[in-house]
């Protein structure tokens, strides 16, 4: 039964309301970030961008950003490499323990991250490792590498193994098949997995909380300020972090669109 016109309209409106619901708190944060007063109260009487200036000048902020960035970049690179192979084991090859492997890598995703962070803290302690931003990379990987693997796996499901078999029949070795056939076919999945890995690591708080030791990431610092009392820098840094992430997403989407448009145009020419 085709959905009636009125039902469709109601569903569209509902969808728009849900998006509004998801983004309403960010609207409040953005307003708060341009309020001049040290103690926030709505409606905002005087607007100013001075907190942005302060944030850019502050050395604490640049330190927080560079720690978060280092962790996120390392997590991204390692996750993508692990996810490439992990996805092949998840979706492509038929091997004996495949279903067990699929379920095993889902466990960390289901796991409460605070508890995972604490467990890692005790584990590092019993190994004699002093927590720092490096241990936070390991902590992020436990959660993010499986997610990246799932994202690449979705792509790996949709490619035709006959392509690899054809290359093998023509005498290509395993490594050159991986390089020449599998890698290019999975590339879009790897790019989105990398994007996810970077953004999830950049915004992660519960895993960093116990595993960064004396170092601190941006979300950790924001949380500490939120719990211990208001700082006008909290909304400002929040907005800057969000805008940064969204710029990255839109750049990626625009690039993906350009690549596709380019390919279609070339196909049309031929």
């Amino acid at each position: 039964m085709p959905t009636s016109r009125s039902t469709r309209i109601v569903l569209y409106v509902y969808g728009i309301l849900v998006i509004a619901f998801l983004y309403l708190p960010l609207v409040s944060v953005s307003f708060a970030s341009v309020s001049k007063a040290r103690y926030l109260s709505f409606p905002i009487r005087r607007y100013s961008t001075k907190w942005y200036g302060e944030a850019l000048k502050s050395s604490t902020v640049s330190e927080l950003v560079s720690t978060s960035l280092t962790i996120a970049v390392l997590v991204t690179v390692i996750s993508v490499v692990i996810a490439f192979f992990g996805a092949l084991a998840f979706a492509r090859y038929d091997w004996r323990h495949r279903t067990l492997f699929q379920k095993f890598i889902l466990l960390p995703i289901f796991f409460p991250q605070t508890v995972l962070g604490l467990a890692l803290l005790m584990w590092f302690n019993s190994l004699g490792i002093i927590p720092s931003w490096k241990t936070a990379v390991v902590a992020h990987l436990v959660w993010i590498a499986p997610i990246a693997t799932l994202i690449v796996a979705i792509r790996a499901y949709s490619f035709d193994p006959a392509l690899e078999e054809a290359a093998r029949d023509m005498g290509a070795g395993t490594l050159s098949i991986l390089r020449e056939i599998t890698l290019p076919l999975l590339a879009p999945g790897l790019v989105s997995a990398g994007l996810f890995a970077f953004l999830l690591s950049w915004g992660n708080f519960p895993l960093s909380l116990f595993t960064t030791g004396a170092d601190s990431t941006l979300p950790e610092w924001l949380y500490a300020k939120m719990v211990s009392g208001y700082s006008p820098l909290v909304p400002t840094l929040g907005v800057m972090s969000v805008v940064g992430s969204f710029l990255l997403i839109f750049t990626a989407l625009a690039l993906a669109w350009l690549v596709r448009a380019n390919r279609e145009a070339r196909a049309a020419q031929q």
Binding site: R98, I105, A119, M122, L218, V227, S245
Partner: protein, 284 residues
Amino acid sequence: MNRLDRKLGLLSALPLTAVLALSFVAPMLVVAIFSVMPQKVFSFANMPDFSSYRVFLEQGYYKSLMWSVGMAFAATLILLVLCWPLAYGMAKVFGRFTLVLTIAVVASLFVSENIRLFGWVLTLMKGGLIEGHLRAFTGISFDTPLYGVPIIVFGLVYVYLPFMLFPLAQGIAMVPDDTRQAAYDLGASRWQVLWQIEVPLAAPGIVVGSLLSFVLACGALAESKILGGQAVIAIADDIETAFTFGQNWPLGSALSVILIVIIGVLALYGVGRVDLDAIMGRRR
């Protein structure tokens, strides 16, 4: 299944398995061992006893566990009802709008949970976005809904919405249109189609979505701390306190083990029932 596939499968599973063995399985073992150590020790070199589990029962920690589980359950039910129409729209009705919705929802996931919850505080507090503007324009004022159990459930619903929405949409997409059409042609009512066709056929998505939201909400911490003003203590909060202020690793470990067992049993039961290949779109 040829021999080469078997070898390559095993080889390519190695990196991820190694990472998870070293930094997921091993820490869990450490937690399990610590949970049977005497109170307030920091090494394994002690005679095991089960004092931490006694403390859990005697000092009322089970109350936090019940609050966490109860609130997670409420949030999951609300999410199911809230997400069903939208997931239905995404799977069957919206065309390009599905893509817009997906991007909007996924993008919101990349914003740190802290910032989003803090945004709700600014929205709902006295003198916040809603109350402040209402009072300035109409003179009407209301008490802030912050700092209570309902607002914590609200926070859980807000944060875990994507984890219910996407699996649910995936599940509903698995319901063939022909089957629904046939049911309608045979005179089934809207409710009959929902309960006898759509819900059973979309079950894998319902199971995965509910499980994800429930499990994540059980271990949630930030909602009760930031929005709830600690009106009730969540179990994850107790675990954190035991490790930090309490300096009692064995107690923290025992509380973690109890939470892990509840979550683990549910997750294994649920995941064991679902065909991952089918839900992720395997062709063969």
